[in-house]
Structure formats: structure tokens, C-alpha cells
Symmetry: C2
Subunit: 183 residues, 2 copies
DNA sequence: CTAGTGTCTGGACACATGTCCGGAAACTTG
DNA sequence: CAAGTTTCCGGACATGTGTCCAGACACTAG
């Protein structure tokens, strides 16, 4: 039960991991989170199951990594925009659209992040930190609304992921919330 | 793949189910969501595994039922209180404290509701409906803040369940949110 | 008490998941 | 090209999960 040695990946390894994460998206889209297995993803990526398991401990770990990569790929927060409300709405929309374009992927990522897999823990903390920072940057320094906006963002993700509301409406609900909250 | 026949439970069956849900709480507290199995719960309830599986299809189903039962056990919303803010804060606090008294239980319920198990689907919809109605009743008829309050509630649950903030602070964060939102 | 109905039991089962290992294959270096 | 290193492969394995069934047990009514 030791902490993993976080070695840097070689170019070849990075490529394998990339193929796995891309295959994961294909698979979860096609089969859904329930019928989604590391073995299937490995096959789809043209990689042996054992290889996939050397990089990812579970399907949850794999999906959490997908989310993390998409989050990291977002453009930096545009601080040149003057209106806090516009900045906030933009950032929230970007975050909401990260995975919500494909419902099954969103369900999968949400379930993965909540599943409590030990290997997802660190990733989860990193993701939370990044989201907090993006929202804080958009709200502006010292804006007390930032915390509530964060709540609203997660809440919107939940309602979408749980099927309480359609994904298409998620971003709109968030915009509405921002309107009520940001002064 | 047919819909289950929802027969009424006999007194004896109801007792078995009750013992199972209570044992589930004990087990998840002790072992955590990860190392938590229907078989262990059955043993702890003094029931054969096969019996447990006749009532619950999975550990997620079991935990979702626990949450649902606690939710149903809440007192009705106190509409005699005049201040909307007080009503809202009270209801949000009750909801937050449903499971958050015991972190592992909260993590388990959250994971269960998000896991996407087919047998949890209906339960999830019922739970969402009940929460929506309680918040709407507290906010008052036609209050546009109800939707955002709902977002905030789910958001708070997420932050607690994901370990982004301590459970003790959840209710306080919600109260703060209500203060910003309810006019 | 006896029969009859409903509920529970113990174990066998098919299946999936994550780990492990010896060796093959692909790179790197001299 | 040859030797050495890294990465990948295929498959065996242990473990866990949900299903099934034949019989045991507990209640109820006659």
C-alpha cells in the first residue's frame, strides 16, 4: 500500500495513454457507463488489457483522467472582459460543456469521480482545485459570490448527471443562477 | 428486461428489509463504501445473501433506499414560519444533515445515487422530486430563487461527498448561499 | 396436528474485475 | 549490428458479484 512513483511518461507511454483515453470516450459513448470495461477500452485502443491496467487501476480512474484532460485543455480565463457577470457566465458555460455534449460521457465521469476509487482521489482534488480557481478568477478577487457560484456549478452537474433535467438546459440554468448571484 | 412487479411487502418481509437497511448503515460506517458488500450486510442483518438479493439488486440499490427512507422520515415543511429565509435555511439544513452526520454514509449514498445502477433509477427520480418539492415549499410559491437553491443544495452535497470541504461546514455554506440568494 | 402457503437458506453457478508473470517485441545505445 | 533496456503481450489466477434452485423453516387456516 505505498504511494505510486510518479515517473514521467516516455513518448511511447504517453501515446499509449492517449490512445486509451480516446478509446474510453468512444466506448462509454457506445456502451454507456454500466457496460463499460477496461478490457473493452483496451481492445478498442489496440492495446492488451494488462497494459491498460499498468496505467489505470479501474474504469473510474480512466474516466476521471478523461475529465481531467479536458479540463486542462480549456483556454485560460479571459480577464480582459470587464463585466464580472459575463466572465462568470462564460467560464461556467465552458465548464458545463466539458462533457455534457455527450450524455453518457457525463454520466460516466460523474459516477467515476463519485465512486470513491482510491486511485481517483488525487485526480479529484486536482480537478476541484482547478475548477475553484477558474471560477474565482472569473468572479474577481475577493468576490464573496465565488463560493456560491461553485455550489451552483456542481449542483448543475448533478442535476444533469442524475437525469433531473436535460443536458441542454444545464448551461442555461447556470446562467440564470449567475444572474441571481453575481452583483 | 421487464419492469419489476411492485408487490406490497408482508409484515415479515418489511421487517427483513428494515433489518437490511439498518445493517447497511452499520456496515458502510465501519467498512466504508469501497469495502462494502451486500453479502456482508446480509450477514450483519442475520440474513442469507440470497434473501438480501431478492430485495436489493446491488449495494447501490441498498444505499439509495437508505437515503430515501431518511428523506421520507423528515417532518413536513413548517409553513407557519413567516420569513422565507428562515424557512429555506431550516429545510436546507435538514436535508444536509440527512446523511452528513456520518461521512462514510454520505459518501456511500452519493456514490450509490450516481452509480447509474438501473435499479436505482426510479428511486433517484423520487428523491429528486421530494427534494425539489421541499425546497419549493420553503421558498414559497413562485419564488424564482427555488431553482438556484436546489442547485446550491446539490452543490453542497457534492463538495462534501468529494472531500472538497469538511462535512461540518456544509450546512454553513448552504446558509450563506441562501442569504445571498433569497430576497 | 396437518396441510398449505409464503419466506428464507446454503451452496453452486456464470461472469466480471484486477493482479501477476514469463517472454516477445520495440526501442536505445555503443 | 549486438547488447541492454523499456514496454507490451497473452494468459492464468484469485477474488468478488449477482443469479438460481431445491429444500428447510415459519406462519396460517382448517
Amino acid at each position: 500500500m505505498t504511494e505510486p512513483t510518479r515517473r514521467r511518461l516516455s513518448a511511447r507511454q504517453a501515446d499509449t495513454v492517449r490512445r486509451l483515453t480516446e478509446a474510453a470516450v468512444r466506448e462509454v459513448r457506445q456502451s454507456g457507463y454500466q457496460h463499460f470495461s477496461v478490457r473493452d477500452v483496451a481492445r478498442s485502443a489496440g492495446v492488451a488489457a494488462a497494459t491498460a491496467y499498468t496505467y489505470f487501476a479501474s474504469k473510474d480512474h480512466l474516466l476521471a483522467e478523461v475529465f481531467w484532460r479536458r479540463l486542462r485543455a480549456l483556454p485560460p480565463v479571459d480577464t480582459s472582459e470587464a463585466s464580472a457577470r459575463v466572465r462568470v457566465t462564460t467560464v461556467l458555460r465552458e465548464l458545463a460543456l466539458l462533457v455534457s455534449d455527450e450524455p453518457e460521457l457525463a454520466v460516466g465521469c460523474t459516477a467515476a469521480l463519485f465512486g470513491g476509487e482510491p486511485d481517483v482521489r488525487q485526480l479529484r482534488l486536482d480537478i476541484g482545485k482547478e475548477i475553484r480557481e477558474r471560477i474565482a478568477a472569473a468572479a474577481g478577487p475577493g468576490n464573496p459570490a465565488a463560493g456560491v457560484l461553485e455550489l451552483a456549478y456542481y449542483g448543475a452537474m448533478v442535476q444533469a448527471g442524475l437525469g433531473y433535467t436535460s443536458y441542454g438546459r444545464t448551461a442555461d440554468r447556470l446562467a440564470e443562477a449567475a444572474g441571481l448571484i453575481v452583483r
